[in-house]
């Protein structure tokens, strides 16, 4: 049985000590081992940023491309090499700012690849500027008095772009993360995974509410297909739908029970929209949405050939030739 170490490259990992990326890399390598992935048929493709260094640390084929363009590179690679197992590793700046266009088009086309978006709400590699997921008011090197841009909610953006798979996980919950990575890998199409990742240097503690022992239960809403949406210590709270408005309720009050709560259906597009937009104190984690739609590269491969010539010589001749003697 292969282990995570078998999938680690011989390169020194150069993230800051304490970075959330270490845990994500570890879970990723573990998942590769659990999948018994063929290193000769696996390709990890990234853009630019802290997260995008990851391909160097994985002992498979890998491309560290240019800022924001990994989805475009993967589209070309998957179209020509559908036999390969391709992963995309990206960050909030890479995927949602400079590469926003490529991401939305990858999603609408449904190119088969998990997209692991490490969201730390900051530009780390360039040393601390606000990113498209930074909150309003977030003070950074380039927003000393607080950012004024409304942030993207990545899951909502991805769903709007036509994603067929949406999930969220977090660096500090290894088991949860591994489960989500397995689901993403198994999805036939683009699998968008937002991974909350702590940047302990420039935006430390951004996701403490979803990882700290004391707070996590009240903020981390696990979504499981077919199960009611319950959270809190001993599942003390639940989520129900009031029309199209999600409401969190305290089940200990005796007014509501788990039976009143919203049963998660990961194939429901409308409810996925509600979950994807939930960006307050309580946020859903797990697979928010997963449906089947034709995979782009398979549709392309199924197109009828337009070439009528059966050889280069016939192609050169075209429809009409004449002979000069």
């Amino acid at each position: 049985m292969a282990t995570a170490n078998d999938y680690a490259s011989d390169q020194d990992v150069r993230w800051c000590p304490g970075c959330g990326d270490y845990s994500i890399l570890k879970q990723f390598l573990t998942v590769l081992a659990q999948l018994d992935a063929d290193p000769d048929r696996t390709v990890v493709v990234s853009g630019i940023g802290c997260s995008s260094r990851m391909p160097y640390y994985v002992n498979t084929y890998g491309v560290h491309s240019i800022h924001g363009r990994a989805p475009a590179l993967v589209t070309g690679l998957r179209m020509t090499r559908p036999d390969l197992d391709v992963w995309v590793v990206t960050g909030d700046g890479d995927a949602l700012s400079i590469g926003g266009n490529h991401l939305i088009h990858l999603l609408r086309r449904n190119v088969k690849a998990p997209i692991l978006l490490f969201n730390n709400e900051i530009y780390g590699l360039t040393k601390g500027q606000y990113s498209p997921t930074s909150g309003v008011g977030q003070r950074t090197k380039s927003s000393p008095t607080g950012a004024v841009d409304e942030p993207f909610v990545p899951t909502a953006l991805a769903l709007g772009a036509g994603a067929t798979f949406l999930a969220r996980s977090i660096d500090r919950d290894p088991e949860h993360l591994r489960t989500v990575l397995h689901r993403a890998h198994g999805h036939a199409g683009s699998a968008f995974v937002e991974i909350y990742q702590n940047c302990n240097v420039f935006h430390d503690g951004a996701f403490d509410a979803f990882s700290n022992k004391e707070e996590k239960a009240l903020h981390f809403l696990p979504v499981v297909h077919g199960q009611p949406l319950l959270f809190g210590p001993n599942q003390s709270h639940g989520l129900l739908l009031d029309g199209l408005v999600p409401r969190t309720v305290d089940l200990t009050e005796g007014k509501w029970s788990a039976n009143d709560c919203w049963i998660h259906d990961e194939t429901d597009r409308v409810k996925a929209g509600i979950l994807a937009e939930m960006h307050g104190e309580v946020r859903p984690f797990g697979v928010l949405y997963a449906v089947q739609r034709p995979v782009y590269e398979e549709s392309v491969a199924a197109l009828p050939p337009t070439e009528t010539a059966s050889s280069l010589d016939e192609m050169f001749a075209g429809q009409r030739t004449w002979e000069v003697l």
């Binding site: 490259s9 084929y61 589209t75 000069v324």
Partner: protein, 610 residues
């Protein structure tokens, strides 16, 4: 016997002018004439009907072996309306013939073309030129009175009526035109029948009109072989496909619509197969980066665009330089900067091709000189890309892209073989695979995912030699910059020795050109040489790196003139690389050189040096 004839077709952009011109060009070529064409169309798809801005033009020259260009002043001007005449009234020789559609010269059309009220533009034509006026609209609607077509559809057969008339004038066999019409309208019997009918009516009218059949026109004596006609963008596309097949590689094209490069996308998608993937990307950047992804996966990958699109691909080209992957980047140049002149030709992206990337990022740059040469140059560009593991820039331009020519197509078996640096397997000595270990020509191995034991990581960061591991070490960076430059310089091993078109090795003046000005320079040089002027013509295909034997050749001439459709870009390169005191002949009007302009420049230079 006339040695050549220039016909200029002009009308509304909805009149089917380009189709009419191309049909005539095809038939002329088929009849054994040498043919060159030039499309001059507006950027607007349907500018207001009858307006000056909506005029579309198509010029062609046909005749004997001395035809190298679409010609300058026309012998025959076909005008479908008053605006077309107004735009091209000075493009005709004084003794030329105007063939006018009189229905396009009525009061409304005259007003749209900007003629004063009461002014009769047709009278103005008659006062200046020999004129044959035919009410084409009336003729086609009479001919099609029993047709089921709508008035609009009937009206749109006008171009084939005019072709019928021209077919009679030049005594071309009717059957060839008719089979063109059958192919063109294969999808609609009604349109096919209507166009065939008006063609015959036009032809018959020629016999009854006072216009006499034109003097016979010389034919070319082309080399024996099989021929077809095609335009530059088609030839370029075929060259790329041929290279992929000869290299036994799958083919990938990433494109994004842009004038005048889109026809490459259109042509390639007509040759789609399981091993030829054509991808219309979300933008120019993605088109280039998807191609890099395909190249990484082992395809012969190509992206094509025009000026502004190439600017967007610059970052991707840098990545391809750093990753050392084969990639062909095609630039069909147009007038710039910015949106500039989208449908006009120019050679102003040469500096961009050479230097338009950050860092020291050398790429071989090749330029296609004519429609048929676009095949050979594209093939060679792809071969260099694959065999040298480098992105290559292939320059063409709006003129070459749309210019039609007869092509003596090669046999696939005669095309040079293309080999790849694909490793067979992991190193036999048990050491880890070294993706950046170079061969004697500086070429790295092209291992692709799926190859067992060759897994490796590459990217845009600087690399340690051999292993390709990330390295910021000063000596490693210096070594890699030098190695990439050396590899590109070694591309010179593919060059033919530099030689003048006419074979001259010395003389008073040397006209140097590159790309789509080939025909203009050749025509001007031949006409001057026939008058005893000591001038020669050198045309450069490999713009970067320049051939090493260029300097000695240039120095054998009294004065070197670099003629190009920009303000002096190759001129700067030649001066800096050879230290020859060359001078520029420049034109930036969005138009090709005329023979007279080049002759004038040579005469002026000879007067100066004497």
């Amino acid at each position: 016997m006339k040695s050549e004839v220039v016909v200029l077709f002009a009308g509304d952009s909805g009149d089917g002018i380009q189709l009419m011109g191309n049909a005539f060009a095809q038939e002329a070529a088929h009849e054994g004439h040498a043919v060159r064409t030039f499309s001059d169309f507006p950027a607007e798809i349907r500018a207001p009907q009858g307006s000056l801005s909506g005029v579309s033009g198509f010029k062609l020259q046909f005749g004997g072996d001395s035809v190298y260009t679409p010609g300058d002043q026309a012998d025959v001007l076909v005008v479908m309306n008053a605006a077309a005449y107004k735009k091209y009234q000075n493009a005709l020789k004084p003794e030329g013939l105007v063939l006018a559609n009189s229905s396009g010269f009525d009061g409304r059309n005259a007003a749209l073309a900007g003629y004063a009220p009461g002014e009769d533009p047709l009278e103005a034509v008659r006062a200046k030129y020999r004129t044959v006026a035919v009410d084409v609209r009336k003729q086609v609607s009479a001919a099609l009175v029993e047709s089921s077509l709508s008035t609009k559809e009937r009206d749109r057969t006008k171009n084939f009526f005019v072709l019928g008339l021209l077919c009679w004038m030049y005594q071309f066999p009717q059957e060839q035109f008719k089979s063109f019409i059958r192919r063109q309208f294969a999808k609609s019997e009604a349109l096919q029948a209507a166009n065939l009918l008006v063609f015959e009516v036009g032809h018959a009218l020629g016999e009854t009109l006072e216009v006499s059949a034109a003097a016979p026109v010389a034919k070319a004596k082309p080399a024996p072989g099989r021929y077809r006609t095609l335009v530059g963008n088609q030839a370029l596309a075929l060259g790329l496909l041929a290279a992929a097949e000869k290299a036994k590689l799958p083919f990938f094209f990433g494109g994004y619509p842009i004038t005048p490069a889109s026809d490459i996308l259109h042509e390639l998608v007509r040759h789609r197969r399981s091993d030829r993937i054509v991808f219309q990307a979300e933008d120019e950047i993605a088109a280039a980066v998807a191609a890099i992804g395909a190249a990484y996966g082992g395809s012969l990958a190509v992206t094509a665009s025009s000026g502004p699109g190439i600017s967007l691909k610059a970052e991707a080209m840098g990545l391809a330089v750093a990753m050392e992957l084969p990639l062909v980047v095609v630039n069909i140049q147009r007038g710039g900067p910015s949106t500039g002149l989208p449908t006009k030709t120019e050679q102003s992206d040469l500096m961009q091709a050479l230097y338009g990337r950050h860092g020291e990022a050398p790429m071989p740059v090749l330029a296609a000189r004519s429609a048929t040469d676009a095949f050979d140059t594209a093939y060679l560009a792809a071969r260099i890309a694959v065999e040298c593991m480098t992105p290559v820039l292939l320059l063409s331009d709006g003129f070459v892209a749309n210019s039609a020519e007869a092509w003596k197509f090669p046999s696939a078996a005669d095309l040079p073989e293309i080999t790849t640096s694909r490793p067979d397997g992991p190193p036999a000595d048990g050491n880890p695979f070294a993706p950046y270990r170079r061969d004697a020509n500086g070429v790295r191995p092209w291992a692709v995912p799926g190859q067992v034991g060759l897994a490796h990581r590459i990217g845009g960061l600087e690399k340690e030699p051999d292993s390709g591991n990330i390295s910021y070490a000063p000596q490693d960076h210096a070594a890699q910059v030098a190695a990439r430059a050396h590899k590109v310089n070694r591309v010179r091993r593919y060059y033919e020795p530099s030689a003048c078109e006419c074979g001259a090795t010395e003389g008073d003046v040397l006209l140097v050109g590159w790309g789509g000005t080939y025909g203009s320079l050749k025509a001007a040089t031949e006409s001057l040489r026939s008058e005893g002027v000591s001038v020669a013509h050198l045309h450069i295909r490999h713009v970067y790196p320049l051939p090493e034997d260029l300097g000695p050749l240039l120095r054998a001439f009294g004065r070197v003139l670099v003629a190009e459709l920009n303000s002096g870009q190759l001129l700067q390169l030649i001066r800096s690389e050879t230290l020859v005191d060359a001078r520029g002949v420049n034109k930036v009007q969005g138009l090709p050189f005329t023979t007279d302009e080049l002759r004038e420049a040579v005469f002026h230079t000879i007067a100066e040096i004497r």
